[in-house]
Amino acid sequence: MLNPDLDTDDTLSVNSAFPPPDSVVFELIAGELRQSSASPEWLDRVKAASGNASSITDCLPFLESFLPDATLFWDHEDDGELVSDFWTQTDASGSKIHLLACALAVEGKKLLLIRSVDALYHQSERAQQQAHASVKQLKLAALWQRGLDKLTGSPNHSGPGSSESDTKDALTGISNRQRFEELFELELRSANEQEAPLSLLYLDIDQFQLINDQYGRPAGDAYLRSLAQLIEGVLSNPKDLAARVGGEEFATLLPGTDGTEAVRLAHTLSDMIRILKVPDPISRGLLSATVSIGVFTRPSRTKETTAQMLGAVQGAVRDAKRSGRGRIVIGDPTI
């Protein structure tokens, strides 16, 4: 790229010996940024892609986010530099141009230098990719560790990198939704490997809002705590899991449990919850409710996913509510 103002006959051969500049410099004069160096080749391409836009921010929109900071910097600093984030634009051919801007204050001059930084960008890209891969591996390791602890009955169920508050529901003390989802995924993989059935119950308290409305939220919370203890107490297999997965929704995950046993357990839970009476110390009344339960069993050697299983039991709960509440309905993953 030749600079018509700088390239005289005498200097032409010297300039030709150097690679074309990869940066462009603007100087802030009377509130306007004026280009004070030759245009690098990438700037021509960017301008062409912008329809030869008339202003620098039309051509380089990223500067809209950087110039306010740069202006503050120029207003308060006489010497130094402020470097922007990386940004990437494409030219008309679709080629990517990676850029960095730098606001400079030098001997009373306020300069903006914009540079094409392909090599530096790719170096940062590789570092960021490695960091992201590490984050994913750490998350996966924590997930597997928690699953392993659960399967081996280790008292440290929560595993490394995760506190108990991350896995326990604060109100009821049983597992929370996050832990349920993590273990659900693990149990599904385990069921696939062992060709074992996996059952899921989804319980939704009928008209729970009435308890809150009639007795107040503390009473409703007390009922939820008692119900959670009941559900957890009914589960006998060490691998079974009870979790609170919504406001008044609970789920139980039953690895190795077939359909007949899952339905039997659902009936047991329904009957016990029906006779559960939780005293309310304020009104001295007894809180009671029924639950609608959706049941689904994934037989061994089938392909249902966690999402399909959840969809099946939640659909079944809706059917149970529609048909009068307090019912047990078998879910259908195809609906």
Partner: protein
């Protein structure tokens, strides 16, 4: 020496009659509509042959941001929409990637300036300066990673604090591998009840992608009646 002046244009929109541009001036009023986008750029010699069908075409430029956890497919969605391409290879975005795409919404020709912000991670958090000026945003999560939904919800709050109640669409991406999803339909249902426009998308197959951007663009130029979710 060429000189580029840095002007922060406050005018809102402009009209062109066939290939003639009306001189720049404050707000434009036409057919009872007032457009209040922050800035409007005119491309006098742009190749808009295909859109200059009617006698009056409105040109509008809008900035939108694409936001979400790293690896959810933000850049792939943009590549699918802008260039109709998809690559299985993972390319992380460092900083910001800016693309432009022109689309026609009714009588308006919309230049979408799409800011693809590097994914939220422990290494990087949202930079408000890069979000400011956006007229709307696309929020992206990965259906195979449940935690990306939580991060998207948190990001929606952050962005809404910066931009106010602007239109946005929430895309749960990677629909092509729905069998690996860890996000059930109840998540989308719950968010829809909060007023969110939740879509399923696949940058790989293109499912839902173009419509999502067009719908967002449409809401940007017609803010009245557009659903603005509560945070």
């Amino acid at each position: 020496m060429p000189a580029l002046s840095c002007r922060f244009v406050q005018s809102t929109c402009r009209w062109t009659r066939t290939n003639h541009l009306i001189p720049r001036s404050g707000k434009a009023h036409a057919r009872g509509a007032t457009f209040t986008s922050k800035r409007m750029i005119i491309n006098g010699d742009c190749d808009q042959k295909s859109v200059i069908r009617s006698s009056l075409i409105m040109l509008i430029q809008k900035k939108i941001c694409v936001i979400g956890e790293f690896g959810v497919g933000k850049t792939s969605l943009i590549s699918r929409y802008v260039d109709s391409i998809f690559s299985d290879k993972y390319h992380t975005t460092v900083g910001v990637k800016i693309d432009k795409k022109q689309c026609q919404i009714g009588d308006a020709l919309v230049n979408l300036v799409i800011w693809d912000l590097a994914g939220e991670s422990h290494l990087r958090t949202l930079n408000p300066a890069q979000v400011r000026g956006a007229s709307g945003f696309l929020l992206v999560a990965d259906g195979t990673r449940a935690d990306t939904i939580d991060i998207a919800i948190a990001l929606q709050r952050k962005v809404s604090e910066i931009l106010g109640p602007v239109p946005f669409i929430f895309a749960i991406n990677k629909q092509d591998i729905v069998e690996q999803w860890r996000v059930g339909p109840e998540v989308a249902d719950a968010l829809r009840q909060r007023g969110w426009d939740v879509r399923y998308s696949s940058a790989k197959t293109g499912a839902g992608v173009e419509q999502m951007f067009l719908d967002l663009a449409s809401r940007l130029i017609d803010r009245e009646g557009a659903p603005h979710a509560e945070s």
